[in-house]
């Protein structure tokens, strides 16, 4: 996987577009959601405790399961924001899956984008799975600028 910061940045930077800015929290949550539901249980339960949970949680890199997950999460959001929250979370998580599919794994592919209709694993092999670490400084600057600059400009105008 690209590291979680790269996924965070993909959601957050898109969420800074003024017309969708109010949904950036949902978009960002969506962008990290697949790894929240896959990697954290995998690291804690599988690697440290030896409970073979990997195949159970790998479904959270499939668009259909992410659609259901986004729906479940949006049910926890207040009524007036629910539909936009659902769309933002699902869009963020879809961007995550697309980024993950672009990676080149050392072995065979590990993601099943067509689950549950097909168990075939897919990768496009466009960049190395650790490439995101190289881009971390650039992404950090972009995120920092997007986080700080709008507030600073607003204060300056006042």
């Amino acid at each position: 996987m690209p590291d979680l910061f790269a996924h965070f940045a993909s959601g957050y930077l898109i969420g800074r577009i003024p017309s969708i800015r109010s949904w950036s929290a949902f978009l960002t949550l969506g962008a990290i959601l697949p790894d929240l539901l896959t990697r954290i249980p995998e690291i804690i339960l599988d690697r440290f405790l030896g409970i073979p949970i990997y195949h159970f949680v790998e479904i959270f890199h499939s668009p259909l399961c992410l659609l259901l997950t986004s729906f479940a999460i949006s049910l926890l959001i207040e009524h007036r924001a629910r539909s936009k929250a659902f769309l933002s979370i699902f869009l963020g998580s879809t961007i995550h899956v697309v980024l993950d599919l672009m990676q080149k794994q050392f072995g065979s592919a590990i993601y099943m984008p067509f689950f549950p209709f097909s168990l075939d694993k897919v990768q496009w092999g466009l960049f190395h799975f650790n490439a995101s670490i190289v881009f971390f400084p650039l992404l950090l600057i972009l995120v920092f600028a997007a986080w700080i600059l709008p507030d600073a400009l607003r204060k300056h105008r006042r």
Binding site: L29, F56, F71, E78, H79, F106
Partner: protein, 174 residues
């Protein structure tokens, strides 16, 4: 409008139904995945012990370096799953890796891609030796992203435990 009303009225029922659907899909994936893993591992164990012919296609194995030679290395192959790392490698059968393997210290764990020529000989095509710091940097960066997401959520939403709902705050803070 009707759909919105329906969703609002049966919010908890829909929530738990969706969770149950996800759990069922998870079990389906787990059963299918573990079946494939078990079949591969059992073929590998039989191949290493010499009771069955080895797979002829390119495979990826995790291996721990047992000894170093000038043109080859001897490794123990990971054949089990579990949390105790030292118990996962087949110590009874060593495999000689040929094809320019890396010269590395004994005990180092490597991912090897190549073909098993026989039960004790592996022709290497590529290897991967992820340094410990790469993984740790990735974990740190990821933790940082988690903290930023939590801050973003705290600035954008507030949680009402009584109604089990997130409400949007002033969206300018987002």
């Amino acid at each position: 409008m009707r759909a919105t009303y329906f969703i609002e009225r049966y919010r908890f029922l829909l929530f738990f139904t969706t969770i149950v659907a996800l759990v069922l899909l998870g079990f389906y994936s787990a059963i299918a995945g573990m079946k494939t893993d078990y079949s591969f591992q059992s073929d590998l164990v039989d191949c290493l012990s010499g009771t069955r012919s080895c797979p002829q296609n390119t495979i990826v194995l995790l291996a721990q370096v047992k000894s170093n030679g000038s043109e080859s290395i001897t490794v123990n192959i990971k054949t089990k799953r579990g949390s105790r790392w030292e118990d996962l490698f087949d110590r009874d059968h060593s495999v000689l890796v040929i094809g320019r393997p890396p010269q590395t210290k004994v005990g180092q764990v490597l991912a090897l891609r190549g073909v098993l020529l026989s039960n004790d000989r592996f022709l290497l095509e590529a290897y991967q030796m992820e340094s410990k710091w790469t993984r740790e940097i990735k974990y740190l960066i990821s933790l940082f992203a988690l903290v930023l997401t939590a801050i973003l959520w705290a600035r954008s939403c507030r949680f009402c435990g009584k109604r089990f709902l997130f409400f949007l705050k002033d969206t300018d803070n987002a």
